[in-house]
């Protein structure tokens, strides 16, 4: 069987960059539960990499193995050519920013930041120079002598960042760096955090289950599910060319139609999709054997909604409006097809006005359709 269906669409990896961090075949088992399952990953220097996945998929466990807090059951971790798999955490040139910051409550902001430098036995004046440099970096000079409980959540986050950057680690790990902040503050902090990280030029792996956060901050994203790394790529690669149903559904919204390959020609495939009540035609060069079970993923923003019948053909169906969610500049229509499947379609707010049509409402009959270059075919 040809494996070309999904992978052919992926642009080739940027060549010429050497892996700075290499994770090879890493497994972590807790009893008979496999928390991390044969993960291979290469990270380049100065990259901001995001590990994204739902709760309990093993992101933190993978990160903790990099920090040295857990020992892999199998596999290897190499950083800058050095095998660090079994190195104790206090011997690794890696620092971590903890999910709830883990600031030392009995130490002032300054003392927290200086803690790691003191462990290295740096001279006093060098420590204080580095501490004030860090305070400057995160704009916390004013608060140097405060204790953590006297700081707001956002300020604590910045102190935690300063503390983890103070030793100039080769690799910075961030576990849900903004998870403890409220939504508004989080969006503002995302950009601030990226700016700081880029200014310092540190190589960085962050863990999050907020896809928006990952898309905004990371240069590349790795999608994890049940301990496995399913797909690695830039935010747009992952969004536009998901390689499996999990990724397609996890990143953004999508409509999945299961079916079997019915027609396989040079410039198109057709899939019998019972849920659609017809065929899905895909026009970009994909091949797969006849009868093969595949899924087509169609993003809501790629689906067109009409109140007048459209000409019969593939990539279209009739349905009833079940729900409309107004979201300002666009609305999401939940359209129930004859098969019972509900399809989500995003409709721009001015769509009906510009066409001179009345807006459909609940229980109205509508037709959905999409162009044949829109769907992505998934084999897994």
């Amino acid at each position: 069987m040809k494996d070309a269906v999904a992978s052919a669409q992926l642009p080739a990896k940027e060549a010429g960059q050497q892996a700075y961090l290499k994770i090879a075949g890493v497994v972590k088992k807790f009893g008979d539960h496999t928390a991390v399952d044969h993960v291979d990953l290469e990270i380049h220097q100065h990259e901001i990499f995001a590990l994204l996945g739902s709760s309990g998929c093993g992101k933190s466990t993978l990160l903790r193995m990099l920090a040295g807090m857990e020992t892999p059951t199998a596999g290897k971790i190499l950083l800058d050519g050095q095998d660090i798999t079994r190195l104790a955490p206090y011997n690794r040139p890696i620092n971590m920013m903890f999910q709830s910051y883990a600031l030392f409550p009995h130490m002032s902001v300054e003392q927290n930041i200086a803690f790691g430098l003191k462990q290295d036995g740096l001279p006093k004046d060098e420590i204080s120079a580095r501490v004030s440099e860090m305070l400057e970096l995160v704009q916390m000079k004013k608060y140097a002598t405060r204790k953590p409980y006297q700081l707001s959540g956002g300020q604590q986050q910045r102190v935690a960042l300063a503390r983890s950057l103070a030793k100039r680690p080769k690799l910075l790990l961030l576990d849900e760096p903004l998870g403890a902040l409220d939504k508004k503050l989080r969006q503002q902090t995302q950009l601030e955090l990226v700016n700081t990280l880029e200014k310092v030029g540190v190589t960085c792996i962050m863990v999050t289950h907020d896809q928006e956060e990952a898309m905004t901050m990371a240069t590349r994203i790795g999608i994890m599910s049940e301990g496995q790394l399913l797909q690695v790529g830039t935010p747009s690669q992952i969004y536009d060319y998901p390689n499996c149903r999990f990724t397609a559904e996890f990143i953004g919204e999508t409509n999945l139609f299961g079916g079997a390959v019915a027609v396989d020609e040079a410039d198109r495939v057709e899939i019998d999709a019972p849920e659609l009540g017809g065929r899905i035609s895909i026009g970009h060069g994909i091949t797969g054997p006849k009868g093969m079970e595949v899924w087509a993923s169609v993003r809501p923003e790629d689906i067109r909604v009409d109140i007048r019948p459209v000409e019969p053909g593939p990539n279209r169906a009739r349905g009833k409006v079940r729900e409309i969610a107004y979201l300002g500049s666009y609305s999401v229509y939940h359209v129930q097809l004859g098969s019972g499947k509900v399809v989500k379609a995003m409709v721009p707010a001015n769509r009906w006005y510009e066409a001179g049509e009345t807006e459909p409402t609940w229980d109205d009959e509508v037709w959905i359709s999409w162009r044949d270059d829109m769907p992505v075919v998934l084999t897994a």
């Binding site: 920090a67 040295g68 807090m69 104790a88 955490p89 206090y90 890696i94 620092n95 971590m96 903890f98 709830s100 883990a102 600031l103 030392f104 409550p105 009995h106 803690f115 790691g116 462990q119 290295d120 204790k147 409980y149 006297q150 503390r163 983890s164 030793k167």
Partner: protein
């Protein structure tokens, strides 16, 4: 008090409960003792004179200061207080050195086994205190377990003099007071956020360093609570020095007993007790003031 003002009236009444308790069962008895300490010994029931006398339109208040003068001038009392404080201090230090690792180990075992271990710490309370002290006699005696074992192995020809010495005193004091050190330390250490230790390791601190820079300072309140619970009752301890200590070890509890029961001198006994209470309360209160100032606004314990 700023603390009381900050709290809502509903919580004010809840706060009043411990104050009421302390007033009723600590302050009032203490004032009674203080009152008796200014009286004179008398052959009556109760065996002391009244402080006030009303006659011919005069209210005569007669405060007898001789008990206090006696305490402050006779070296015997000074030595006794000092010796009591010394025994209490060494007992506290011993309990801390022994209790801290035990409390730490219990706090770090998995939760299922923790309760069993805590039960074992508290288990001695299930038998009478006196019985347990007598059991130590059977261990430390000339014919006790240790001596008969050492004799039978031929290591010694004559029994060691272990009992009625400072050695036996400290052994039994440690034994009796250890749980009072372990329990508050445990409840403090079990709350320690282990991520702080991970953070310390991540920042380059080896386990020992992390212990001294993170765990130990953060368990300060547990250390203080445990030390108070051991030190304060240990100062006035009577039974253990009487039963297992050397006859030369002066303890204020013993002096109290003598004055009260042997000499039937209630005013003197009260004066001795009042001075002891002041010796304990004044430094404790000062320390507490200092602590609250440092903790002001802090929301973690």
């Amino acid at each position: 008090m700023s603390l009381l003002r900050k709290l809502s009236p509903g919580r004010g009444s809840v706060i009043a409960v411990p104050y009421l308790w302390l007033t009723l069962f600590f302050l009032v008895p203490f004032l009674i003792v203080l009152k008796i300490s200014f009286a004179e010994q008398d052959i009556a029931i109760p065996p002391f004179t009244a402080l006030t006398e009303y006659a011919d339109g005069y209210l005569n208040v007669k405060l007898n200061l001789s008990n206090f003068l006696y305490i402050f001038t006779d070296e015997f009392y000074f030595d006794t207080y000092l010796s009591s404080l010394k025994v209490a201090l060494f007992t506290t230090i011993g309990c801390l050195l022994l209790g801290y690792p035990i409390a730490y180990a219990i706090a770090r075992t998995d939760p299922a086994r923790r309760n069993v271990l805590l039960m074992l710490v508290m288990l001695p309370f299930w038998t009478s205190f006196l019985l347990r002290v007598y059991a130590w006699m059977g261990i430390l005696n000339e014919t006790g377990l240790i001596n008969s074992f050492l004799m039978s192995t031929g290591l010694i020809d004559e029994p060691l003099h272990l009992f009625h010495t400072d050695f036996s005193l400290y052994i039994v004091m440690l034994y009796a007071y250890l749980p009072f050190m372990i329990l508050p330390l445990y409840s403090n250490l079990v709350k320690l956020d282990l991520r702080l230790l991970e953070a310390a390791a991540d920042l380059g601190a080896r386990p020992m360093k992390a212990f001294f820079t993170i765990t130990l300072p953060l368990s300060k309140n547990g250390i203080i609570a445990g030390s108070m619970l051991v030190f304060i009752p240990a100062v006035g301890e009577f039974v253990i020095p009487e039963l297992v200590g050397s006859s030369e070890t002066l303890m204020i509890g013993k002096v109290l007993w003598n004055e009260f029961f042997d000499n039937n001198n209630w005013p003197m006994a009260s004066a001795v007790a009042a001075v002891m209470a002041l010796i304990l309360i004044v430094p404790t209160a000062l320390f507490h003031r200092f602590e609250t100032r440092e903790l002001e606004g802090k929301n973690h314990a």
